[in-house]
């Protein structure tokens, strides 16, 4: 039932989820989804609320253990422990921001570097040269990332004091700190105004240019279709369609899934064509709430 349009995939597959199924007691949130992300690619995952996107996301990041199927990263099957998944090279952000509120911006990013450093308790106590070098390197790397997301001047502010947009950026910087091969973004532009959304777009492009593959869940269609090389649509836990942005855009099942099927039994006259044209137009333009005109 899934139409697989063969797209020319350039890079090697980074993430391969095969037949991932997640059942909570009777309810099957995700039913046998196959999914791949290649290196240097931006892939979007869309679908109406309750389609199982975040559950699928959690299976990828080891927060849930999928009832069936496996998730492998660069060929090796991922252990079901979140911290080992991050060590393997997949970093993630959260739908509602989960920063370390009472740690400074710099410390948040330093925690992100946890998997890439190995100084344990003993080296902390002995404070040998190795420790000092590692700390200095971590701090430099962290400052680079903060520079990258434009938060360098706020290194000593508490994370909880940052405005919403900057907290999102910090979360991305923190995720990048673990030198991931794949970055998973869970609705990065939720609650953002257009300027911030555009800034995030540039940021994601910049990340991709650093050679990091990106998988993002998003409702802002224009953002998704501008950004993503490939888009997959999840409905009721199943993968409906996968392909390039314009293929998925025009697929009427996706439109139906979002806007509901057009009302049958309407007299076949010109009025009906107008309605469909309007629908098609609105389908292409963003279905998100903010219509461009009345900007706050």
């Amino acid at each position: 039932m899934i139409t697989m349009t063969t797209t020319t995939t350039t890079g090697t597959p980074v993430l391969e989820a095969t037949n991932v199924t997640m059942r909570f007691g009777g309810l099957t949130a995700v039913r046998s989804v196959d999914f791949t992300v290649n290196s240097g690619e931006i892939v979007g995952l869309i679908g109406p609320n309750g389609a199982g996107k975040t559950t699928f996301f959690n299976c990828l990041t080891g927060l849930y253990v999928p009832t069936e199927g496996t998730v492998s990263y660069k060929g090796t099957v991922l252990p079901p422990k979140p911290h080992l998944v991050t060590k393997a090279g997949i970093a993630r952000t959260f739908q509602n921001i989960r920063l370390f509120a009472n740690m400074t911006v710099l410390e948040n990013v330093l925690v992100g570097r946890h998997t890439r450093t190995k100084e344990g308790l003993w080296s902390a106590l002995l404070r040998g040269p190795g420790f000092k070098k590692a700390e200095r390197e971590s701090e430099e790397r962290a400052m680079e990332l903060l520079e990258f997301v434009g938060l360098a001047n706020k290194r000593d502010h508490l994370a909880r004091n940052l405005p919403y947009g900057e907290q999102r950026k910090l979360e991305i910087a923190r995720a990048l700190a673990s030198e991931p091969g794949l970055l998973l973004l869970d609705e990065p532009t939720a609650g953002m105004n257009p300027q911030e959304t555009r800034a995030t777009e540039e940021l994601v492009f910049a990340i991709r240019d650093k050679g990091i593959a990106v998988l993002l869940i998003e409702h802002d269609m224009r953002f998704v279709f501008n950004l993503c090389d490939r888009v997959a649509c999840l409905v009721q836990g199943e993968k409906l369609v996968e392909g390039t942005s314009d293929v998925v855009q025009s697929d009427e099942r996706v439109v139906a899934a979002y806007l509901g099927t057009p009302f049958e039994g309407v007299p076949e006259d010109s009025a009906l064509d107008e309605v469909e044209a309007a629908e098609a137009h609105s389908a292409t333009s963003t279905t998100s709430v903010e219509v461009e005109g009345d900007q706050k």
């Binding site: 975040t54 996301f57 959690n58 990041t61 927060l63 959260f94 739908q95």
Partner: protein, 309 residues
């Protein structure tokens, strides 16, 4: 002569007393996530409230049938006043404070309540005699006192009333809502402060019932009776699944029976002769708690709180 039935009866009695006190811990924890270490002392003040009614208010020689209900009311009023007072003046100002601050206040409060009773209640520096219901009855190989019957009956009646109240009444539902999510409950127009006061009051009353049953059964009360009983009741509340009222009573019964059987029969297990007896009983009670929590981290009846990403 097989002592198992008697020992089971002993365990059941001890357990129901733990259960009645544990209700107070569970209700307060369920609503405000506070371990009210002073609850043991609220149990103790309930006992002294009942003692005051019997010795200083009722004329001497009033029949127990009349005295016991009045003692329940007297003890109940004192325990409720102190519980609500504690919430109002010691815990409420700390609502926004770090989670550990009310814990230290509770420890200070329990020390203060013990010392207030010891210093200012006449003759309280030593155990005070409490009127007893000592008529015994033999049911097969089990000997039961009137006080034991009073304990069992009051435990069952109170549990039934509480279950009805929480499930059926309007305030009961409001209480469940506040336990689940206080902020949303407030949005629904529930005055959460009133609900919290009610939770403390119910906990206080149940402790008073347990206190009167304690006095009638053991025949005396003293200012330190709340400390160890409170610790055991808190263990029972956690064993049953902290926050769940049925869990509190079940946890109490399980703990009481386990403790009694342990101190009675552990030394018959080969190799553990020396480890029997009452002095080791608390160790086995805590071991049981730890094993249960390892198998079911949310306690016997607690429900698993999934942490959605």
């Amino acid at each position: 002569m097989n002592t198992l039935p008697q020992q089971l009866a002993n365990g059941l009695l001890l357990g129901s007393m733990y259960g009645l006190i544990a209700i107070g811990y569970t209700m307060v924890y369920g609503i405000v996530q506070l371990i009210n270490f002073a609850h043991g002392e609220i149990f103790m003040t309930g006992a002294f409230g009942a003692l005051t009614v019997y010795f200083y208010i009722l004329p001497d020689g009033t029949p127990m049938a009349v005295a016991v209900p009045l003692m329940l009311i007297g003890g109940g009023i004192v325990a409720i006043l102190i519980a609500v007072g504690a919430e109002r003046f010691a815990y409420r100002p700390l609502r926004g404070a770090p989670r550990l601050a009310p814990l230290i206040t509770a420890i200070g409060l329990s020390l203060a309540l013990q010392e207030v009773v010891r210093n200012f209640y006449p003759g309280a520096d030593r155990a005070r005699a409490f009127p007893g219901l000592d008529a015994t009855h033999d049911l097969g190989s089990i000997t039961i006192k009137d006080a034991d019957i009073f304990l069992i009956v009051s435990a069952v009646v109170c549990m039934a009333a509480l279950a009805y109240f929480v499930r059926k009444s309007r305030t009961g539902r409001a209480m469940q809502a506040t336990a689940q999510d206080p902020d949303t409950a407030q949005l629904m127009g529930i005055d959460t402060n009133r609900i919290i006061v009610i939770a403390f009051a119910i906990g206080g009353f149940f402790a008073a019932v347990a206190a009167v049953a304690y006095g009638l059964k053991y025949g005396n009360v003293d200012y330190r009776m709340g400390f160890l009983m409170g610790l055991k009741a808190f263990t029972a509340a956690v064993l049953g699944g902290i926050g769940n009222i049925y869990g509190a009573m079940l946890g109490g019964l399980v703990l009481g029976i386990a403790e009694t059987l342990a101190s009675a029969y552990i030394d018959e297990i080969p190799g553990m002769q020396q480890l029997g007896g009452q002095s080791w009983a608390n160790v086995w009670a805590f071991c049981l708690l730890i094993i249960v929590l390892l198998v079911r981290p949310q306690g016997l009846l607690g429900e698993r709180v999934a942490d959605r990403a």
